[in-house]
């Protein structure tokens, strides 16, 4: 704990000048030995050109123009900043059941907390923070960067997904069914209102046409209209555009879900839940959803690997080897799912800081037990960014993406490797540079 103030001091010293340089639009070229681009595999002798917080270009042995400052680190390995797709690290937890789809954890975020700095030190540059509550529909997640003096500065994106806890029980299913039923009800109400409005519009048209026929003076008309306005400023005056009745925030969330403006993160607890979920979502084909499955000992998720693969699911798992029920047989569920064609995003084994410290080690462990290495690296970067709807901006080292880069002194999946520097949107927030 004592090292945190120190770290703060360091950053204050180091970051500020860099900050000033990059914000003025200056280029920075970083030359590293290797880069895990995620999108294009592993590159060697890589030059990354960063400007305005974005990666301008990345490639092997690129010539660097004279005058561009160069950071030459041939022993470093660059990879995109880690993304945790589903977390409440450092926040309070509750087991309450709730139905509050409009809630976000924004108010719970306090800037300048030690945890954020520690997460940055661990290479975590983006966090998908979920609202509290582990049954029902607790609300929408937000994406934050663990850096910034105000909540606004920390916020990357609001409403990244709606967290829904789906279990195979009548009550859990009912919550979801009811929510969509309310949307149906609202749609009907809108239709009704629309019909009313059309009628009213026609009526007013008729009236106005009559008026024009009766050849009233323009002045009269104006007077009349003025009178009308005075009498009933809003109530009866037919608006030119149809204003549908505003849905309640909860209903609006589910409308967004149905119309594809919002994704859902369905939290399930076992293989059986997925079949129930498929059954439940048959009626809601337009809804795009990802899955969150907290892996625990004895979980039987491998039973639905094929189904998940068929549906090209994106599943957010924690990086852990589990045991098959009633045995000591190890199951590498992330690997099994990935082999079945499932997109896997990995979070730390447990949702606390200590586990974040072991995150890459745990992922490395999964790799040593059969998980494809590239899949594993994508699982903590690009796939996680996808789950947050930020894969256009984050998750790989590509031109045009945010310059969130973690620099290691060795293979990121090797326990012996350590982080040398962390760049967040073009700024070195961790590490001694120059």
């Amino acid at each position: 704990m004592t090292m945190i103030p120190k770290a703060f001091g360091l950053i204050a010293l180091l970051v500020l000048p860099l900050h000033a340089s990059t914000s003025s639009g200056d280029l920075l070229a970083i030359r590293v030995g290797k880069a895990e681009t995620i999108s294009n595999g592993t590159l060697e002798h890589v030059v990354i050109l960063v400007e305005d917080g974005k990666i301008v270009i990345i490639g092997e042995d690129l010539p660097i123009e004279r005058g561009i400052p160069i950071l030459d680190r041939p022993d470093w390995i660059a990879m995109p900043g880690l993304v945790s797709a589903h977390t409440r690290v450092g926040l309070e937890r509750s087991r309450a059941s709730s139905f509050t789809p409009q809630v976000t954890p924004l108010r719970e975020i306090y800037p300048r907390r030690d945890e954020w700095m520690e997460l940055l030190e661990l290479g975590v540059t983006t966090l998908g923070v979920v609202p509290e509550g582990n049954s029902g529909v607790p609300g929408q997640a937000i994406a934050i960067r663990p850096h910034g003096d105000t909540v606004e500065e920390m916020l990357v994106k609001e409403g990244v997904y709606l967290k829904v806890n789906m279990q195979s029980s009548s009550s859990a299913k009912k919550i979801i069914r009811d929510a969509f039923a309310k949307v149906d009800k609202h749609d009907k109400a809108v239709e009704k209102e629309h019909a009313k409005w059309e009628k009213a519009k026609e009526k007013s048209k008729k009236k106005s046409s009559r008026r024009s026929k009766s050849k009233k003076d323009d002045e009269d008309k104006k007077e009349e209209e003025a009178k009308k306005d005075e009498k009933k400023p809003e109530a009866k005056a037919v608006s030119k555009t149809f204003v549908p009745p505003t849905p309640t925030p909860a209903v609006k969330t589910f409308i967004d879900l149905r119309e594809g403006r919002l994704n859902a993160m369905m939290s399930i607890r076992k293989a059986g839940d997925y079949l129930h979920l498929l059954d439940l979502m048959k009626a809601e084909e337009s809804v795009n959803y990802y899955l969150r499955v907290p892996l625990r000992t004895d979980i039987d998720l491998y039973e639905v690997a094929e189904e998940l693969g068929e549906h090209e699911a994106l599943v957010v798992l924690n990086a852990v080897i589990t045991l098959q029920a009633h045995s000591r047989r190890e199951r590498n569920i992330p690997a099994e799912l990935a082999r079945a064609g499932v997109s896997v995003a990995l979070t730390p084994e447990r949702d606390r800081l200590g586990s974040y410290e072991e995150w890459m080690n745990d992922v490395g462990h999964l790799v040593s037990r059969g998980l494809d290495r590239d899949t594993a690296l994508a699982a903590v970067t690009l796939q996680a960014a996808r789950a947050l709807g930020l894969d256009e901006r984050l998750g790989s080292l590509d031109a045009g993406k945010d310059a969130n880069i973690v620099f290691w002194n060795g293979d990121p999946l090797e326990p012996a490797s350590s982080i040398q520097a962390v760049m967040l949107e073009g700024n070195f927030v961790i590490g001694e540079v120059d």
């Binding site: 009548s170 076992k270 079949l275 059954d279 907290p294 039987d300 039973e303």
Partner: protein, 526 residues
């Protein structure tokens, strides 16, 4: 006969369908050429969807008394389509070779713990303490009997950090869908174990739930066939109010039937006020009344009460049933019992009492329909205590030790419980038209040494001993048993006697033969 004629009449793919019987109309009314084509198309379309499964060459113990040697059971979409020797298997039929093995109807477990189909957590967590089993067996029984409504300890107390791992405890049936359907876990390890024990249907708080593995649709067959009442001489007012309940209901029924008979449209239907719906359903023969009783006095009372009211009681427990078996037989009662029940008679009484291993046999002799249940409905200590759900067949075998015939003991875990649950038209025996819920064993199902090799539920192979981690290592299945040839020889001899085999005596003979064989095997092993 039919088949050869048909084959002559219709060519190719239409003939495929004939085995299924779907094209029978075409056979009865000689088709025009165009019709023929249509049929053909339809046949093709149908075959695309239809799912065939066949258990080939096993000795089928039908459960209704007959034993069919070396026959094939063909199912179409989960329903048994044909049983016989030269069954035509449509293209794409999935087959299971059961040569040298025995095929039984899937067993029905009464009083099973809801973990079997809900299976949220693994068995270890649910395991009750050892003292519970040893010193407070009765309490354990009570707990298990009434335990269905209890919410289990979710076992996550120690893992405070796993804030996501919490279940919605409320398991309420909502909006017409069955809560058992909604909470059905098709991958529950408990279910696998139940299937490994031959159980393909489990009673879950009165509901008959089919243990479909890997599927969630359509698992509850009937959940409204049992209405529970209590009858205890310890509680005379309870008996009085029960009598009153039935009296009111009887009177209402009399009024209702008279009203119905009059058929007067203007007359109002008699008021249903004060009528107990449970009693009404029992008296209308829509449900069975279940009593949990063990004492002779209670059993007598129930028997008389049932006869007065004209319904057949289901008596769960029935420990002293053997002392009043004739009364229970007269009342047409069903008894659900555990053959290994041990309880001394009350020494203050002169009359017979207490448990008796002959209980099942005596009750059966007097016309009581006997069902056997495991004394504990859950799966505990992975079955080492020997009296949980994994040992349903052993429990039935103890009834055989007490004098019950083999076939009656098989009925006690198949047809009778199916009747009690109101699903006897679907399960309980291997018959054409019934659900294809079968188990394939390597010996007499009641023998302690036998293993369930395969379990088939709704025409799908859901359990294969060699594929599951539980029992694969114990006496692994030989690649192809050398005994198979001998069995085939036997089959040829008996082909002609199939009809005769249907009789119960025939099957018992067979059973005893098999028993002897088993004995020899045992000696060999020694």
């Amino acid at each position: 006969m039919d088949r050869t004629l048909c084959k002559r009449l219709l060519a190719g793919s239409v003939a495929l369908l004939l085995a299924t019987g779907a094209a029978l109309p075409a056979f009865l009314y000689p088709p025009m050429v165009e019709d023929d084509k249509k049929e053909e198309q339809e046949a093709e379309e149908e075959e695309d969807q239809d799912k065939y499964f066949a258990v080939v060459g096993g000795d089928v113990f039908t459960g209704t008394g007959g034993v069919l040697r070396g026959v094939t059971v063909l199912s179409k979409n989960g329903v048994i389509e044909e049983i016989g020797n030269n069954v035509y298997l449509p293209e794409g039929t999935e087959t299971l070779d059961a040569a040298g093995l025995r095929v039984y109807p899937g067993l029905v477990a009464l009083n099973a713990s809801t973990d079997v189909t809900r299976g949220l957590f693994s068995a270890e967590i649910k395991e009750p303490k050892r003292e519970d089993i040893l010193t407070h067996l009765n309490e354990t029984l009570e707990r298990v009997i009434h335990g269905h409504t209890e919410t289990p300890d979710d076992g996550y107390a120690e893992e405070e950090d796993d804030w996501e791992d919490l279940d919605l405890q409320a398991q309420v049936a909502v909006g017409g869908t069955s809560k058992f359907n909604d909470s059905f876990d098709p991958f529950s390890p408990f279910m696998t174990l139940a299937l490994a024990s031959g159980i393909t249907t489990a009673e879950q708080s009165g509901a008959a739930v089919k243990l479909k593995r890997g599927e969630i649709g359509d698992v509850v067959m009937n959940e409204r066939n049992i209405v529970s009442f209590s009858w205890s001489t310890q509680n005379p007012s309870g008996i009085r109010s029960l009598r009153e309940k039935f009296k009111v209901t009887r009177e209402y029924l009399a009024l209702y039937r008279a009203w119905e008979a009059r058929g007067d449209k203007e007359e109002k239907e008699p008021a249903k006020r004060g009528v107990d719906t449970g009693a009404l359903r029992v008296l209308q023969n829509q449900a069975l009344a279940r009593f949990r009783s063990n004492d002779r006095e209670d059993l007598m009372g129930i028997a008389h009460f049932a006869q007065e009211n004209g319904f057949r009681p289901v008596i769960d427990g029935c420990r002293e049933g053997w002392t009043v078996a004739d009364e229970l037989g007269r009342a047409g009662a069903y008894a659900i019992l555990t053959a290994r029940d041990r309880s001394p008679k009350r020494e203050t009484l002169v009359r017979d009492g207490g448990s008796n291993i002959q209980n099942a046999a005596i009750l059966h002799e007097h016309g009581v329909q006997v069902a056997v249940k495991a004394s504990v409905g859950s799966i505990e200590s992975m079955g080492i205590s020997g009296r949980d759900l994994l040992h349903l067949t052993v429990e039935a075998a103890f009834a055989v030790r007490g004098g019950l015939s083999n076939s009656a003991a098989l009925s006690a875990i198949t047809t009778v419980p199916a009747r009690i649950l109101g699903v006897s038209e679907r399960i309980g025996s291997v018959e054409v038209g019934k659900d294809c819920d079968l188990i394939v064993t390597d010996g007499d199902v009641l023998h302690y040494q036998s293993f369930v090799q395969f379990a088939v539920v709704a025409g799908r192979l859901v359990y294969d001993k060699e594929e599951e981690l539980y029992f694969a290592h114990i006496r692994p299945r030989p690649a192809k048993p050398a005994v198979a040839e001998e069995v085939e020889g036997v089959e040829e001899d008996e082909e002609g006697h199939e009809e005769a085999d249907q009789e119960e005596s025939g099957s018992e003979e067979n059973d005893s033969e098999e028993g002897d064989e088993k004995g020899e095997e045992d000696k060999d092993e020694d």
